[in-house]
Symmetry: C2
Subunit: 363 residues, 2 copies
Amino acid sequence: MNRPFNFSAGPAVLPEEVLRQAAVEMLDWNGSGMSVMEMSHRGKEFISIYEHAIKDVRELLSVPPEFSILFMQGGGIAENAIVPLNLSEAGQTDYVVTGNWSERSQKEAQKYCTVNVAASNRESGHTCLPSPASWKLNDAAKYVHLCTNETVHGVEMHEIPDLKALGSNAPLVIDFSSHMASRPVDWSRVGLAYGGAQKNVGPAGVTLVFVRNELLGRALPHCPTAFDYKTVADNQSMYNTPPTYAIYIAGLTFKWLKKQGGINAIEERNIAKAKLLYDYIDASQLYSSRVAPACRSRMNIPFFLNDASLDERFLAGAKEYGLLQLKGYKTLGGMRASLYNAMPFEGVQALVSYMREFEQTKA
Amino acid sequence: MNRPFNFSAGPAVLPEEVLRQAAVEMLDWNGSGMSVMEMSHRGKEFISIYEHAIKDVRELLSVPPEFSILFMQGGGIAENAIVPLNLSEAGQTDYVVTGNWSERSQKEAQKYCTVNVAASNRESGHTCLPSPASWKLNDAAKYVHLCTNETVHGVEMHEIPDLKALGSNAPLVIDFSSHMASRPVDWSRVGLAYGGAQKNVGPAGVTLVFVRNELLGRALPHCPTAFDYKTVADNQSMYNTPPTYAIYIAGLTFKWLKKQGGINAIEERNIAKAKLLYDYIDASQLYSSRVAPACRSRMNIPFFLNDASLDERFLAGAKEYGLLQLKGYKTLGGMRASLYNAMPFEGVQALVSYMREFEQTKA
């Protein structure tokens, strides 16, 4: 039997190959006689899993050697505190607000530092992105924070801004949780990038942090030691017991991504998948996207039926059709299709077929 | 083929039944068409997993209704900061030092509050426990912190002290990571208990916190919101995305524990397993335990060969015999056998047989 297509915004679909391998290895990883869950994180078996995962993600995303790669816990929401605890020095910081997630980031940061909202798209209902040229950056900012893909509102920054060209010398911090590993990253423009794994990379419970080594060692005195980037880096993410199984699944996903042809190949597929759905939505009479075309996310595609009273029928029919978790975010309503790396092209084709059939027959 | 016996101190052995069920359900949980890793934490499928896990652990451990049960991230080491961030009010606190873990706890707490070391067994090399009657408790302490089982040194508190009888009105905070769910807990003596799951309960990456509701809402202003117990409790552990798969495995483990007859039955087995090993060690000429009999841990049993030059041969032979991860903690040397709930009696019998054979033939 074919598995249904799962459009959850996260935790989200994983490659079937990864899950199959995890099932096969559940009781005995590589002849060790142990499940990966049962291994000491200090033993040679888990160290080898960890080292392969780090090597593969560094290679996949072309992460330069001047960055450390950390596996942490708490997800993007914990990073909302951990970033200012590590980088703000209790001084000035710039936050660009582009949707639900960056709103939460700037709000949490206010506990630790002075937050300057350098730009905001609130007035548009978070449906378009403020042009970097319009940002009011602060010379004294210790960093500039940006969410490069907003999972709830479905806006994506298709180019990482060049802060130097905008006159700022601050490091750029990006929350790239929901499009991490879906496209290449221009690391020359980034100081720190973080993301929860539960979109494109693995299960919930592990956060990936990519940080320039020059930014390590600036934590505030009341930063918990387990969340001090320098401590985490100095201890190869094993100052506290790492979420070993989640790291293992992330490692399998990195190997799967390499087999798909790497990040450039996966980006091409992601472009084609998103185009198929947006083109259909734009041509239809029943469905609409509220996001300006130039900043539409490839990963998270909120859309609305022009008659919200049809929503429940649409969702019930989708489930029968084998299309799961399409319900929109609680505060936005409507629908949302998340097209992460592990969503095959056939899944988007099936979604569009169902949407067309629903429009023609039921609406 | 039989699986080898895994004596790791954590992450540690899990019940084979739990792993088999996880493998079977990996691609399709309960007919949902999804792996548990792929489910939205807000969907009815995962909510049902979460609710069963909470209900089962509350029943298993007889947790009274005035306690909230939280699933958090970061393990015991993160809790070393999270506890004082939530409960110290930047005031006075009492810490009892009984080994490696409580040493780390009191050190981290110094970032947030004034730490009074009420008692310490440092002079004994952490091989016996300071009698509660000798503790120098501070009237102004916001809480008293205790590690009731020290994983590294192998000392266990077999009765939770009654602070009221010792003249203190402070709530008692216990780190019970490495013996959680191995024995009953007298909750009337506890204000808060925390433990990483990776010993008796599940994989690394989820921390269980049991906290009296009257202690919620005291967090310091710079406590990260994701680690504020009140926020976590108010949001059913879903303020940030919880480590869903780790919670699922913990839930399967709780069901397995119930099938074993519950905590009293598992405690009896744990007593019998520990007795078998300690009795053999005490009777042997080659092996010794350095821990005073009255405070020996049932869970973590460090032991030493009287000639350390035999250690490598002992470990290599053990591995051939199907006995894994017996090497002692890096700073202590020697051996350590962890006999968590999921270690069958037969595993301890096999260990004792091997030790006897090694003593008779190789030493």
